[in-house]
């Protein structure tokens, strides 16, 4: 299979920084709703609803951040399609863009881990692009490639099922940072990043699962990887000391594209208590939650679990991140004096 690099030139760092500074993202044809009052909680120690770009997690295999200038960027859509497409950055920006709030998470995220974040993204809907190319029957895998050769495989059917899969060009109001995939990355709400969120996007090929194993699949990770429901206690911190009385236990929960229906917290293995959830902004984003705990002196273990929009509650059993995502109820031990 011929490598899919689309003939762009890797630029010098100063060229790419200048290129990024010159990018002007047009106003999206379909803007995101601002979160309703009540959909965002602001509490000390609680993750902010939007993760600032400088704090957004980064997991990739890039030894050196690929430097791809917008001016020379090309994307080829090829393989099992009726019509090959090629676009440059200007043509991509000229398409009707959408703006959506999406939570992205890494399959390697441990229970209680930080490899999850939420941003406002602007991009071109991917399903429309694929339909223009005309996906042939049997082309069940969309293989996307990064400028450094990294490969990702995404189920074509998921991309086409109506969710906000996009080729993103902006993150939290600015062009994609270099470390987050400038100039273009893929996003598919509801899938872990390694099967959906190709950075420094270079090439799209329609193929089949039988015909190609992407990078992490070759290393034993699951071919299909919808995100598993997860919740996390942000505050109080592990081994924190608090005075007895009311303690606001708070955190986030996510099950992208299924939404979060309920979050419960318990202390010391006692009965599960419902946490107060921020209003749902979108099923594709996390929800913040808070539980007012009447803390008595002593050492306590707090645990959280979430139920997703389909009614399924997080299982207690611990699964490690390998091969398709961790499971388990996040627990934090604290001291109350």
């Amino acid at each position: 299979m011929v490598a899919g690099t689309s003939g762009r030139v890797l630029a010098r760092r100063s060229d790419v920084t200048a290129s990024r500074a010159a990018v002007d993202i047009p106003a999206p044809a379909s803007a995101a709703r601002p979160p309703a009052e009540g959909a965002v909680l602001d509490l000390p120690g609680l993750s902010s609803f939007y993760t600032p770009n400088r704090d957004f997690y980064r997991v990739d295999t890039a030894l050196v951040v690929p430097r791809v200038a917008a001016e020379t960027w090309r994307l080829r859509v090829h393989g099992r399609v009726r019509r090959e497409l090629e676009l440059d950055f200007g043509q991509l920006l000229a398409r009707p863009l959408v703006e959506r709030d999406i939570t992205l998470s890494c399959v390697s995220n441990e229970v209680g881990g930080r490899y999850v974040g939420t941003a406002r993204w602007v991009g071109a809907p991917l399903a429309e692009l694929l339909r223009e190319a005309g996906v042939e029957p049997g082309a069940d895998q969309l293989v996307s490639r990064s400028a450094d050769g990294f490969t990702v495989g995404t189920p074509t059917a998921v991309v086409l099922d109506g969710r906000d899969a996009m080729l993103a060009v902006a993150m939290n109001g600015e062009p994609l940072p270099l470390t987050h995939g400038f100039p273009v990355r893929m996003l598919v709400p509801g899938l872990y990043g390694y099967v959906s969120a190709t950075k420094w996007l270079d090439d799209l090929e329609l193929t089949s699962f039988g015909d190609f194993d992407p990078y992490w699949v070759r290393r034993g990770w699951a071919r299909q990887a919808p995100v598993k429901t997860m919740s996390r206690i942000d505050t109080p911190r592990p081994l924190a000391r608090r005075p007895a009385g009311r303690v606001a236990v708070a955190g986030v929960a996510w099950a992208q594209h299924r939404g979060i229906r309920r979050v419960e917290v318990r202390a010391d293995g006692g009965p599960w208590r419902p946490a107060r959830l921020a209003a749902e902004h979108s099923p594709d984003t996390w929800r913040q939650w808070v539980w007012p705990w009447e803390a008595t002196p002593g050492r306590h273990t707090l645990e959280v679990r979430a139920t997703d929009g389909t009614g399924a509650t997080q299982p207690e059993d611990r699964a490690p991140p390998f091969p398709d995502g961790a499971t388990g109820w996040h627990s934090v031990v604290v001291s109350v004096t």
């Binding site: 990739d60 295999t61 050492r299 390998f322 996040h330």
Partner: protein
């Protein structure tokens, strides 16, 4: 720390605690050009780990994300056979998530030999009281902040509440005058680890 041959740790079994100086799992838009360390020895980014017991063997295991995501401390320890007793105790106490989610800590990690050297009755009493005595002992091994070797000597407040005292310098350190660091300055995602040859016991 010169490794005494009478207590030789198995070299090469410290897999999983190799420095993962990855550009991965870091924050921000500033391209720090560190390499994913899947097959590389610990880099000098935060100082080399010291002690002849340390090995640069990276973690193995089919399909590991090593080199992409740095492992938090309890997970990293679980990849290391030399720390299996500690990991067992941490699991028994229900402290896995607590240690993995802590932001920036230093952990003094007793070896399996250190646990074997405990009086049987002490160990049994601790394991029979996982949320009490065992948690007290284990959290006595955790200090807030990631201490570099340069910062290690001195009195430190532990997350259990009591203090411990580290003496020594360079590559030779002792905790509370009785537990030697046999492999120090080992980096994990959220903790700097100093492997010690005796379990630390908090006063009272």
């Amino acid at each position: 720390m010169r490794l005494r041959s009478s207590r030789r740790l198995v070299v090469g079994t410290l897999a999983g605690l190799a420095l993962l100086a990855a550009g991965c799992g870091s924050n921000g838009s500033d391209p720090a050009p560190a390499a994913p360390a899947a097959t590389q020895p610990p880099a000098a980014a935060a100082g080399m780990d010291f002690g002849p017991a340390c090995s640069a063997v990276p973690a193995n295991g089919a399909g590991s994300f090593m080199g992409m995501a740095q492992d938090p401390v309890a997970t990293a320890a679980s990849n290391n056979p030399v720390l299996s007793s500690l990991v067992g105790a941490v699991k028994e106490a229900g402290l896995v998530d607590t240690l993995n989610s802590a932001d920036g800590i230093t952990v003094f990690a007793p070896t399996n030999d250190a646990f074997s050297a405990l009086p049987r009755s002490t160990l049994d009493a601790a394991m029979a009281d996982p949320k009490g005595l065992l948690t007290t002992v284990l959290t006595y091994h955790v200090v807030e902040g990631k201490l570099s070797p340069e910062m290690l000597a001195g009195t430190h407040k532990t997350l259990q509440g009591g203090t411990l005292k580290v003496t020594g310098s360079g590559e030779d350190f002792k905790v509370n005058g009785q537990s030697s660091v046999v492999c120090g300055n080992v980096q994990t995602a959220n903790a700097t680890v100093y492997i010690v040859d005796n379990v630390l016991v908090p006063k009272s």
